[in-house]
Protein backbone atom coordinates (compact mmCIF):
# COMPACT_ATOMS: atom_id res chain seq x y z
CA UNK A 1 0.00 0.00 0.00
CA UNK A 2 1.29 3.43 -0.93
CA UNK A 3 2.23 5.59 2.03
CA UNK A 4 -0.54 7.88 3.23
CA UNK A 5 -0.61 9.69 6.55
CA UNK A 6 -2.92 11.62 8.80
CA UNK A 7 -1.47 15.12 8.89
CA UNK A 8 -4.19 17.07 10.63
CA UNK A 9 -6.84 16.36 13.22
CA UNK A 10 -9.52 18.60 14.65
CA UNK A 11 -12.46 18.15 16.98
CA UNK A 12 -15.00 20.21 18.81
CA UNK A 13 -15.68 19.81 22.47
CA UNK A 14 -18.31 17.11 22.71
CA UNK A 15 -21.25 18.07 24.87
CA UNK A 16 -24.75 17.03 25.76
CA UNK A 17 -26.46 19.85 23.95
CA UNK A 18 -24.65 22.38 21.85
CA UNK A 19 -27.43 24.91 21.47
CA UNK A 20 -25.31 27.68 20.01
CA UNK A 21 -24.43 25.90 16.80
CA UNK A 22 -26.13 23.83 14.14
CA UNK A 23 -24.35 20.77 12.83
CA UNK A 24 -22.87 22.55 9.84
CA UNK A 25 -21.25 25.04 12.17
CA UNK A 26 -19.93 22.16 14.28
CA UNK A 27 -18.27 20.69 11.22
CA UNK A 28 -16.83 24.08 10.28
CA UNK A 29 -15.21 24.32 13.70
CA UNK A 30 -13.69 20.86 13.43
CA UNK A 31 -12.48 21.52 9.89
CA UNK A 32 -10.75 24.73 10.91
CA UNK A 33 -9.14 23.00 13.87
CA UNK A 34 -7.80 20.30 11.57
CA UNK A 35 -6.48 22.79 9.03
CA UNK A 36 -4.76 24.71 11.80
CA UNK A 37 -3.31 21.50 13.16
CA UNK A 38 -1.90 20.63 9.75
CA UNK A 39 -0.74 24.17 9.19
CA UNK A 40 -2.49 24.44 5.81
CA UNK A 41 -5.34 26.33 4.21
CA UNK A 42 -8.48 24.89 2.63
CA UNK A 43 -6.89 25.40 -0.78
CA UNK A 44 -4.49 22.57 -0.14
CA UNK A 45 -7.32 20.13 0.30
CA UNK A 46 -7.80 18.27 -2.99
CA UNK A 47 -11.08 16.54 -2.22
CA UNK A 48 -13.57 16.01 0.58
CA UNK A 49 -15.51 13.11 2.07
CA UNK A 50 -18.21 13.94 4.59
CA UNK A 51 -19.66 11.25 6.82
CA UNK A 52 -23.33 11.72 7.61
CA UNK A 53 -26.48 9.93 8.63
CA UNK A 54 -29.81 11.20 7.34
CA UNK A 55 -31.74 9.84 10.31
CA UNK A 56 -29.59 11.38 13.03
CA UNK A 57 -29.55 14.63 11.09
CA UNK A 58 -33.28 14.75 10.46
CA UNK A 59 -32.63 15.55 6.83
CA UNK A 60 -32.47 13.44 3.75
CA UNK A 61 -29.31 14.21 1.76
CA UNK A 62 -27.95 15.64 4.99
CA UNK A 63 -24.59 16.07 3.32
CA UNK A 64 -26.08 19.15 1.65
CA UNK A 65 -25.53 20.99 4.86
CA UNK A 66 -21.94 20.05 5.41
CA UNK A 67 -20.38 20.31 1.98
CA UNK A 68 -19.64 24.02 1.91
CA UNK A 69 -18.35 24.13 5.47
CA UNK A 70 -15.98 21.30 4.60
CA UNK A 71 -14.59 23.25 1.67
CA UNK A 72 -16.50 21.41 -1.04
CA UNK A 73 -16.62 24.40 -3.38
CA UNK A 74 -14.89 23.70 -6.67
CA UNK A 75 -13.76 20.26 -5.56
CA UNK A 76 -14.64 16.64 -6.12
CA UNK A 77 -16.49 15.42 -3.08
CA UNK A 78 -18.39 12.45 -1.79
CA UNK A 79 -20.21 11.09 1.22
CA UNK A 80 -20.22 7.92 3.25
CA UNK A 81 -23.15 7.08 5.45
CA UNK A 82 -21.82 5.21 8.40
CA UNK A 83 -19.31 5.51 11.18
CA UNK A 84 -16.41 7.89 10.61
CA UNK A 85 -13.93 5.03 10.22
CA UNK A 86 -15.75 4.02 7.05
CA UNK A 87 -15.77 7.59 5.73
CA UNK A 88 -12.06 7.84 6.38
CA UNK A 89 -11.56 4.57 4.49
CA UNK A 90 -13.17 6.01 1.39
CA UNK A 91 -11.15 9.17 1.80
CA UNK A 92 -8.02 7.04 1.91
CA UNK A 93 -8.91 5.16 -1.28
CA UNK A 94 -9.39 8.43 -3.12
CA UNK A 95 -5.71 9.13 -2.52
CA UNK A 96 -4.53 5.57 -3.16
CA UNK A 97 -6.41 5.56 -6.47
CA UNK A 98 -3.96 8.19 -7.63
CA UNK A 99 -6.68 10.79 -8.05
CA UNK A 100 -5.89 13.15 -5.16
CA UNK A 101 -3.00 14.10 -2.94
CA UNK A 102 -5.01 15.12 0.12
CA UNK A 103 -8.47 14.26 1.41
CA UNK A 104 -10.37 16.01 4.16
CA UNK A 105 -12.79 13.76 6.03
CA UNK A 106 -15.44 15.01 8.42
CA UNK A 107 -17.94 13.28 10.68
CA UNK A 108 -20.37 14.75 13.17
CA UNK A 109 -23.62 14.31 15.02
CA UNK A 110 -26.04 16.41 16.96
CA UNK A 111 -27.70 13.59 18.82
CA UNK A 112 -29.39 16.06 21.14
CA UNK A 113 -31.64 17.15 18.31
CA UNK A 114 -33.37 13.82 17.98
CA UNK A 115 -34.99 11.05 19.96
CA UNK A 116 -32.35 8.31 19.89
CA UNK A 117 -34.66 5.34 20.33
CA UNK A 118 -36.66 6.41 17.28
CA UNK A 119 -33.51 6.90 15.24
CA UNK A 120 -32.04 3.52 16.13
CA UNK A 121 -35.41 1.75 15.93
CA UNK A 122 -35.33 2.70 12.25
CA UNK A 123 -32.33 0.41 11.80
CA UNK A 124 -34.61 -2.58 12.34
CA UNK A 125 -36.27 -4.30 9.43
CA UNK A 126 -39.75 -2.83 8.92
CA UNK A 127 -41.34 -6.20 8.22
CA UNK A 128 -39.66 -8.58 10.63
CA UNK A 129 -38.45 -6.47 13.53
CA UNK A 130 -39.44 -2.84 13.73
CA UNK A 131 -42.83 -3.32 15.35
CA UNK A 132 -41.08 -4.91 18.33
CA UNK A 133 -39.94 -1.42 19.30
CA UNK A 134 -36.32 -2.45 19.64
CA UNK A 135 -33.65 0.21 19.72
CA UNK A 136 -29.87 0.14 20.03
CA UNK A 137 -29.96 -0.16 23.82
CA UNK A 138 -32.40 -3.06 24.10
CA UNK A 139 -30.76 -4.91 21.21
CA UNK A 140 -27.31 -4.52 22.75
CA UNK A 141 -28.72 -5.71 26.05
CA UNK A 142 -29.58 -8.98 24.31
CA UNK A 143 -25.98 -9.19 23.13
CA UNK A 144 -24.56 -8.27 26.52
CA UNK A 145 -26.58 -10.98 28.22
CA UNK A 146 -25.59 -13.65 25.66
CA UNK A 147 -21.89 -12.71 25.80
CA UNK A 148 -21.71 -12.46 29.56
CA UNK A 149 -23.65 -15.67 30.15
CA UNK A 150 -21.56 -17.67 27.70
CA UNK A 151 -18.22 -16.74 29.25
CA UNK A 152 -19.13 -15.85 32.80
CA UNK A 153 -18.24 -12.18 32.35
CA UNK A 154 -19.55 -10.31 35.37
CA UNK A 155 -21.35 -7.00 35.60
CA UNK A 156 -18.54 -5.81 37.86
CA UNK A 157 -16.01 -6.50 35.11
CA UNK A 158 -18.11 -4.42 32.73
CA UNK A 159 -18.34 -1.71 35.37
CA UNK A 160 -14.54 -1.57 35.47
CA UNK A 161 -14.67 -0.37 31.86
CA UNK A 162 -16.94 2.52 32.82
CA UNK A 163 -14.67 3.43 35.73
CA UNK A 164 -11.56 3.25 33.56
CA UNK A 165 -12.88 5.12 30.54
CA UNK A 166 -14.80 7.84 32.31
CA UNK A 167 -11.77 8.31 34.49
CA UNK A 168 -9.54 8.55 31.43
CA UNK A 169 -11.93 11.09 29.96
CA UNK A 170 -11.04 13.52 32.75
CA UNK A 171 -7.75 14.12 30.95
CA UNK A 172 -9.50 14.68 27.62
CA UNK A 173 -10.32 18.35 27.00
CA UNK A 174 -12.93 17.41 24.39
CA UNK A 175 -14.73 14.75 26.40
CA UNK A 176 -18.33 15.02 27.43
CA UNK A 177 -18.49 12.74 30.46
CA UNK A 178 -15.19 12.64 32.22
CA UNK A 179 -15.92 11.65 35.78
CA UNK A 180 -14.52 9.78 38.70
CA UNK A 181 -16.87 6.93 39.49
CA UNK A 182 -16.64 3.62 41.32
CA UNK A 183 -17.76 0.13 40.47
CA UNK A 184 -20.42 0.43 43.22
CA UNK A 185 -21.83 3.54 41.61
CA UNK A 186 -22.07 1.79 38.26
CA UNK A 187 -23.73 -1.23 39.90
CA UNK A 188 -26.22 1.00 41.72
CA UNK A 189 -27.10 3.05 38.63
CA UNK A 190 -30.67 2.60 37.30
CA UNK A 191 -31.29 -0.59 35.33
CA UNK A 192 -32.23 0.18 31.77
CA UNK A 193 -32.44 -3.25 30.10
CA UNK A 194 -30.65 -5.94 32.02
CA UNK A 195 -27.76 -6.36 32.29
CA UNK A 196 -27.26 -2.78 31.08
CA UNK A 197 -27.45 -0.05 33.67
CA UNK A 198 -27.30 3.68 33.12
CA UNK A 199 -23.53 3.91 33.59
CA UNK A 200 -22.96 1.03 31.18
CA UNK A 201 -24.26 3.23 28.37
CA UNK A 202 -22.29 5.84 26.50
CA UNK A 203 -23.93 9.28 26.45
CA UNK A 204 -25.44 10.78 23.33
CA UNK A 205 -23.21 13.74 22.54
CA UNK A 206 -23.10 16.60 20.08
CA UNK A 207 -19.75 16.94 18.38
CA UNK A 208 -17.72 16.84 15.20
CA UNK A 209 -14.33 15.62 14.09
CA UNK A 210 -12.17 16.17 11.05
CA UNK A 211 -9.02 14.48 9.79
CA UNK A 212 -6.77 15.32 6.88
CA UNK A 213 -5.14 12.50 4.95
CA UNK A 214 -2.17 13.14 2.69
CA UNK A 215 -0.03 11.19 0.30
CA UNK A 216 3.57 10.86 1.39
CA UNK A 217 5.02 13.63 -0.78
CA UNK A 218 2.42 16.10 0.50
CA UNK A 219 2.48 14.77 4.05
CA UNK A 220 6.16 15.45 4.45
CA UNK A 221 5.60 19.14 3.81
CA UNK A 222 2.71 19.44 6.23
CA UNK A 223 3.30 17.62 9.41
CA UNK A 224 6.47 17.07 11.43
CA UNK A 225 5.06 13.80 12.72
CA UNK A 226 2.51 12.26 10.40
CA UNK A 227 0.59 9.20 11.56
CA UNK A 228 1.05 6.67 8.77
CA UNK A 229 -1.75 4.38 7.67
CA UNK A 230 -0.34 0.86 7.94
CA UNK A 231 -3.47 -1.21 7.48
CA UNK A 232 -7.22 -0.86 7.30
CA UNK A 233 -10.11 -3.20 6.67
CA UNK A 234 -13.80 -3.60 7.41
CA UNK A 235 -16.36 -6.38 7.41
CA UNK A 236 -20.09 -6.90 8.02
CA UNK A 237 -21.85 -9.84 9.68
CA UNK A 238 -25.37 -11.17 9.11
CA UNK A 239 -28.21 -8.73 9.68
CA UNK A 240 -31.11 -10.24 11.63
CA UNK A 241 -30.09 -10.58 15.27
CA UNK A 242 -31.21 -14.22 15.34
CA UNK A 243 -29.01 -15.07 12.36
CA UNK A 244 -25.83 -14.92 14.41
CA UNK A 245 -24.51 -15.86 17.82
CA UNK A 246 -24.35 -12.45 19.46
CA UNK A 247 -21.46 -13.55 21.69
CA UNK A 248 -19.22 -13.82 18.64
CA UNK A 249 -17.77 -11.12 16.47
CA UNK A 250 -16.56 -12.80 13.34
CA UNK A 251 -16.85 -9.63 11.30
CA UNK A 252 -14.46 -7.88 13.69
CA UNK A 253 -12.06 -10.82 13.64
CA UNK A 254 -11.99 -10.79 9.84
CA UNK A 255 -11.51 -7.02 9.65
CA UNK A 256 -8.80 -7.08 12.30
CA UNK A 257 -6.93 -9.97 10.68
CA UNK A 258 -6.97 -8.22 7.32
CA UNK A 259 -5.78 -4.95 8.85
CA UNK A 260 -3.02 -6.68 10.82
CA UNK A 261 -1.89 -8.53 7.71
CA UNK A 262 -1.65 -5.30 5.76
CA UNK A 263 0.31 -3.70 8.59
CA UNK A 264 2.59 -6.67 9.06
CA UNK A 265 1.37 -7.14 12.63
CA UNK A 266 1.70 -10.74 13.74
CA UNK A 267 1.27 -10.48 17.50
CA UNK A 268 -1.19 -7.67 18.20
CA UNK A 269 -0.96 -8.09 22.00
CA UNK A 270 2.70 -7.28 21.85
CA UNK A 271 2.95 -4.97 18.88
CA UNK A 272 -0.02 -2.63 19.37
CA UNK A 273 0.94 0.10 21.83
CA UNK A 274 -2.48 1.70 22.27
CA UNK A 275 -6.02 1.14 21.02
CA UNK A 276 -9.03 3.41 20.68
CA UNK A 277 -12.10 1.24 20.22
CA UNK A 278 -15.88 1.48 20.03
CA UNK A 279 -17.13 1.20 23.62
CA UNK A 280 -20.73 2.27 23.05
CA UNK A 281 -21.55 0.00 26.01
CA UNK A 282 -19.20 -1.32 28.67
CA UNK A 283 -19.54 -4.98 27.60
CA UNK A 284 -18.56 -4.03 24.05
CA UNK A 285 -15.07 -2.97 25.06
CA UNK A 286 -14.53 -6.44 26.51
CA UNK A 287 -15.99 -8.28 23.51
CA UNK A 288 -14.07 -6.19 20.99
CA UNK A 289 -10.74 -6.67 22.79
CA UNK A 290 -11.30 -10.39 22.22
CA UNK A 291 -12.22 -9.90 18.55
CA UNK A 292 -9.13 -7.77 18.06
CA UNK A 293 -6.98 -10.53 19.48
CA UNK A 294 -5.85 -8.65 22.60
CA UNK A 295 -6.89 -11.72 24.59
CA UNK A 296 -8.61 -15.05 23.98
CA UNK A 297 -12.37 -15.58 23.63
CA UNK A 298 -14.14 -14.94 26.91
CA UNK A 299 -11.09 -13.34 28.52
CA UNK A 300 -12.10 -9.71 28.07
CA UNK A 301 -13.28 -9.44 31.66
CA UNK A 302 -10.03 -10.77 33.07
CA UNK A 303 -8.08 -8.45 30.80
CA UNK A 304 -9.64 -5.31 32.22
CA UNK A 305 -9.72 -6.71 35.77
CA UNK A 306 -5.96 -7.12 35.87
CA UNK A 307 -5.40 -3.60 34.63
CA UNK A 308 -3.92 -4.58 31.29
CA UNK A 309 -6.02 -2.02 29.41
CA UNK A 310 -5.53 0.85 31.86
CA UNK A 311 -3.69 3.93 30.67
CA UNK A 312 -0.53 2.63 32.31
CA UNK A 313 -1.20 -0.99 31.43
CA UNK A 314 0.50 -3.23 28.89
CA UNK A 315 -2.12 -2.50 26.18
CA UNK A 316 -4.03 0.69 27.02
CA UNK A 317 -7.52 0.81 25.57
CA UNK A 318 -9.41 4.11 25.22
CA UNK A 319 -7.06 6.45 27.06
CA UNK A 320 -9.19 9.24 25.60
CA UNK A 321 -12.21 7.94 27.46
CA UNK A 322 -13.66 6.30 24.37
CA UNK A 323 -17.38 6.53 23.63
CA UNK A 324 -18.21 6.26 27.31
CA UNK A 325 -16.39 9.58 27.60
CA UNK A 326 -17.97 11.20 24.56
CA UNK A 327 -20.26 9.72 21.93
CA UNK A 328 -21.26 11.88 18.99
CA UNK A 329 -22.69 9.12 16.83
CA UNK A 330 -21.05 8.71 13.41
CA UNK A 331 -18.14 10.90 14.54
CA UNK A 332 -17.19 8.27 17.13
CA UNK A 333 -14.88 6.29 14.86
CA UNK A 334 -13.22 9.32 13.34
CA UNK A 335 -12.48 10.58 16.84
CA UNK A 336 -10.85 7.22 17.61
CA UNK A 337 -8.60 7.70 14.60
CA UNK A 338 -7.77 11.24 15.71
CA UNK A 339 -6.96 10.14 19.25
CA UNK A 340 -4.85 7.25 18.02
CA UNK A 341 -2.93 9.65 15.76
CA UNK A 342 -2.36 11.94 18.74
CA UNK A 343 -0.78 9.12 20.73
CA UNK A 344 1.61 8.43 17.87
CA UNK A 345 2.57 12.09 17.67
CA UNK A 346 3.22 12.19 21.40
CA UNK A 347 0.94 15.17 21.95
CA UNK A 348 -1.96 13.53 23.72
CA UNK A 349 -1.21 15.50 26.87
CA UNK A 350 -2.72 13.91 29.96
CA UNK A 351 -3.99 11.04 27.83
CA UNK A 352 -0.53 10.08 26.55
CA UNK A 353 0.08 6.46 27.45
CA UNK A 354 3.85 6.53 27.06
CA UNK A 355 6.52 8.34 25.14
CA UNK A 356 7.34 5.63 22.66
CA UNK A 357 4.11 4.79 20.82
CA UNK A 358 4.84 3.07 17.53
CA UNK A 359 1.63 1.36 16.51
CA UNK A 360 -1.87 2.51 17.37
CA UNK A 361 -5.21 0.92 16.56
CA UNK A 362 -8.48 2.73 15.92
CA UNK A 363 -11.82 0.97 15.58
CA UNK A 364 -15.34 1.89 14.57
CA UNK A 365 -18.69 0.12 14.37
CA UNK A 366 -21.70 0.53 12.11
CA UNK A 367 -25.11 -1.00 12.62
CA UNK A 368 -26.61 -2.74 15.63
CA UNK A 369 -24.82 -5.09 18.06
CA UNK A 370 -21.55 -4.60 16.26
CA UNK A 371 -22.70 -5.94 12.93
CA UNK A 372 -20.09 -4.10 10.88
CA UNK A 373 -16.57 -3.19 12.03
CA UNK A 374 -13.73 -1.11 10.61
CA UNK A 375 -10.20 -1.45 11.96
CA UNK A 376 -7.33 0.99 11.35
CA UNK A 377 -3.68 0.44 12.19
CA UNK A 378 -1.59 3.62 12.33
CA UNK A 379 2.15 3.79 12.75
CA UNK A 380 4.80 6.31 13.62
CA UNK A 381 7.03 5.22 10.75
Amino acid sequence: MERVAIVGIGQTKHEARKKEVNFAELVYEAVNNALKDAGIGIGEIDNVVTTCNDFWDGRTISSMATGDVSGARGKNVSVVEGDGTFGAFYGLTRILSGAYGTTLVTAYSKGSESIPYLITNAAFDPIYMRSLGLDLVTACALQARRYMKRYGITEEECALVAVKNRGNALANPNAHQGMKITVEEVMRSPKIAEPLKAFDLSPVSDGACCIILAREDRAKKMSPRPAWVKGVSFCADAYLLGDRDLSECRALEKAAQAAYRMAGVQKPREEIDVAEIHDAFTYQELLWTEGLGFCGPGEGGKLVARGATAKSGELPVNPSGGLLGAHPVIAAGLIRIAEAARQLRGDAGGMQVKEDVRLALAHGVNGVCGQSHCVWILGRN
Binding site: K19, E20, G58, Y117, L118, N121, P126, I127, Y128, M129, S131, L132, G133, L134, D135, T138, A139, A141, L142, Q143, A144, R145, R146, K149, P190, K191, I192, A193, E194, P195, L196, A238, Y239, L240, L241, G242, D243, L246
Partner: protein, 154 residues
Protein backbone atom coordinates in the same frame (compact mmCIF):
# COMPACT_ATOMS: atom_id res chain seq x y z
CA UNK B 1 -18.54 34.92 20.98
CA UNK B 2 -19.54 34.92 24.63
CA UNK B 3 -20.74 38.53 24.37
CA UNK B 4 -22.87 37.64 21.38
CA UNK B 5 -24.91 35.20 23.42
CA UNK B 6 -25.75 37.68 26.12
CA UNK B 7 -27.65 39.63 23.48
CA UNK B 8 -29.12 36.85 21.40
CA UNK B 9 -31.40 34.10 22.50
CA UNK B 10 -30.57 30.65 21.09
CA UNK B 11 -33.71 29.62 19.25
CA UNK B 12 -34.67 25.98 19.22
CA UNK B 13 -37.06 25.06 16.43
CA UNK B 14 -39.27 22.09 17.19
CA UNK B 15 -40.18 19.92 14.27
CA UNK B 16 -41.06 16.40 13.28
CA UNK B 17 -40.59 14.33 10.18
CA UNK B 18 -43.77 12.48 9.46
CA UNK B 19 -43.49 10.36 6.37
CA UNK B 20 -46.02 7.60 5.88
CA UNK B 21 -44.50 4.33 4.67
CA UNK B 22 -46.03 1.30 3.00
CA UNK B 23 -43.42 -1.39 2.98
CA UNK B 24 -44.10 -4.22 0.57
CA UNK B 25 -43.38 -7.47 2.34
CA UNK B 26 -42.81 -9.42 -0.86
CA UNK B 27 -44.13 -12.90 -1.54
CA UNK B 28 -42.00 -14.70 1.02
CA UNK B 29 -42.78 -12.52 4.02
CA UNK B 30 -46.38 -12.22 2.86
CA UNK B 31 -46.80 -15.97 3.09
CA UNK B 32 -45.22 -16.00 6.54
CA UNK B 33 -47.40 -13.17 7.81
CA UNK B 34 -50.66 -14.40 6.32
CA UNK B 35 -50.02 -17.83 7.85
CA UNK B 36 -49.62 -16.14 11.24
CA UNK B 37 -52.83 -14.27 10.69
CA UNK B 38 -55.03 -16.97 9.18
CA UNK B 39 -53.72 -20.22 10.61
CA UNK B 40 -51.59 -19.29 13.64
CA UNK B 41 -48.77 -21.22 12.01
CA UNK B 42 -45.09 -20.30 11.81
CA UNK B 43 -43.08 -21.15 8.72
CA UNK B 44 -39.42 -21.10 7.84
CA UNK B 45 -37.64 -21.49 4.52
CA UNK B 46 -34.96 -24.09 3.80
CA UNK B 47 -31.67 -23.31 2.08
CA UNK B 48 -30.63 -26.14 -0.25
CA UNK B 49 -26.96 -25.30 0.15
CA UNK B 50 -26.36 -24.96 3.89
CA UNK B 51 -29.51 -26.76 5.00
CA UNK B 52 -30.56 -24.03 7.43
CA UNK B 53 -34.24 -23.47 8.07
CA UNK B 54 -34.47 -19.69 8.15
CA UNK B 55 -36.95 -18.16 10.55
CA UNK B 56 -38.16 -15.59 9.72
CA UNK B 57 -38.14 -16.91 6.15
CA UNK B 58 -36.08 -15.24 3.42
CA UNK B 59 -36.36 -15.57 -0.34
CA UNK B 60 -32.60 -16.11 -0.57
CA UNK B 61 -30.20 -17.41 2.03
CA UNK B 62 -28.11 -14.55 3.48
CA UNK B 63 -25.21 -16.92 4.09
CA UNK B 64 -25.12 -18.77 0.76
CA UNK B 65 -26.65 -16.21 -1.59
CA UNK B 66 -28.86 -18.85 -3.24
CA UNK B 67 -32.65 -19.01 -3.49
CA UNK B 68 -34.31 -20.86 -0.65
CA UNK B 69 -36.67 -23.55 -1.82
CA UNK B 70 -38.80 -25.57 0.54
CA UNK B 71 -41.21 -24.10 3.02
CA UNK B 72 -40.86 -25.82 6.39
CA UNK B 73 -43.42 -25.46 9.12
CA UNK B 74 -41.72 -24.92 12.47
CA UNK B 75 -43.15 -25.32 15.92
CA UNK B 76 -44.75 -22.47 17.82
CA UNK B 77 -42.62 -23.64 20.74
CA UNK B 78 -38.95 -23.16 21.29
CA UNK B 79 -36.10 -22.25 23.56
CA UNK B 80 -34.88 -18.88 24.84
CA UNK B 81 -31.30 -18.35 23.62
CA UNK B 82 -30.79 -14.97 25.19
CA UNK B 83 -33.00 -12.28 26.66
CA UNK B 84 -33.06 -8.89 28.33
CA UNK B 85 -35.41 -7.61 30.98
CA UNK B 86 -36.45 -4.09 30.02
CA UNK B 87 -36.75 -1.89 33.10
CA UNK B 88 -36.94 1.56 31.53
CA UNK B 89 -39.38 1.45 28.66
CA UNK B 90 -39.94 3.64 25.62
CA UNK B 91 -43.30 4.54 24.07
CA UNK B 92 -42.66 2.45 20.96
CA UNK B 93 -42.41 -0.88 22.78
CA UNK B 94 -45.34 -3.28 22.47
CA UNK B 95 -45.46 -4.03 26.21
CA UNK B 96 -45.02 -1.90 29.30
CA UNK B 97 -41.82 -2.34 31.29
CA UNK B 98 -40.87 -4.56 32.95
CA UNK B 99 -41.03 -7.05 30.11
CA UNK B 100 -38.43 -9.07 28.25
CA UNK B 101 -37.09 -9.22 24.73
CA UNK B 102 -35.75 -12.63 23.74
CA UNK B 103 -34.08 -14.44 20.88
CA UNK B 104 -36.08 -17.66 20.57
CA UNK B 105 -34.99 -20.75 18.68
CA UNK B 106 -38.23 -22.42 17.64
CA UNK B 107 -38.16 -26.22 17.31
CA UNK B 108 -37.21 -26.95 13.71
CA UNK B 109 -35.64 -23.56 13.02
CA UNK B 110 -31.90 -22.94 12.52
CA UNK B 111 -32.01 -19.22 13.28
CA UNK B 112 -33.46 -17.27 16.17
CA UNK B 113 -36.64 -15.22 16.14
CA UNK B 114 -36.54 -11.99 18.15
CA UNK B 115 -39.74 -11.37 20.06
CA UNK B 116 -41.10 -10.47 23.50
CA UNK B 117 -41.86 -12.52 26.60
CA UNK B 118 -44.81 -12.03 28.88
CA UNK B 119 -46.84 -13.90 31.52
CA UNK B 120 -43.59 -14.82 33.23
CA UNK B 121 -41.92 -13.63 36.42
CA UNK B 122 -38.60 -11.93 35.66
CA UNK B 123 -36.64 -14.27 37.95
CA UNK B 124 -37.92 -17.29 36.05
CA UNK B 125 -36.51 -16.16 32.70
CA UNK B 126 -33.33 -17.96 31.77
CA UNK B 127 -31.47 -19.34 28.80
CA UNK B 128 -32.99 -22.68 27.87
CA UNK B 129 -36.49 -21.77 29.07
CA UNK B 130 -39.06 -23.39 26.81
CA UNK B 131 -41.63 -20.92 25.57
CA UNK B 132 -44.73 -21.01 23.39
CA UNK B 133 -46.28 -18.41 21.11
CA UNK B 134 -49.46 -16.70 22.25
CA UNK B 135 -51.34 -15.40 19.25
CA UNK B 136 -53.19 -12.14 19.34
CA UNK B 137 -56.97 -12.21 19.01
CA UNK B 138 -56.82 -9.30 16.59
CA UNK B 139 -54.45 -10.47 13.86
CA UNK B 140 -53.56 -8.31 10.87
CA UNK B 141 -50.72 -10.10 9.11
CA UNK B 142 -47.84 -8.66 11.10
CA UNK B 143 -45.13 -9.99 13.39
CA UNK B 144 -47.20 -8.91 16.39
CA UNK B 145 -49.93 -11.35 15.38
CA UNK B 146 -47.87 -13.29 17.85
CA UNK B 147 -48.60 -11.12 20.87
CA UNK B 148 -45.77 -12.61 22.93
CA UNK B 149 -44.18 -15.86 24.04
CA UNK B 150 -44.82 -17.39 27.44
CA UNK B 151 -43.30 -20.35 29.29
CA UNK B 152 -44.57 -23.77 28.20
CA UNK B 153 -46.84 -25.39 30.73
CA UNK B 154 -47.77 -22.16 32.42
Amino acid sequence: MKDFWTEVEPIVYEGRIKIPYSWQAGETASFFLTQLRDREKIWGKHCPECGKVLVPPRKSCPFCFVDTEKWVEVSDEGVVETFTLVREGTPIQPLKAPFAYAVIRLDGASTGLVHVLSEVEPEKIREGLRVKAVFSKDRKGSLLDIAYFKPVGS
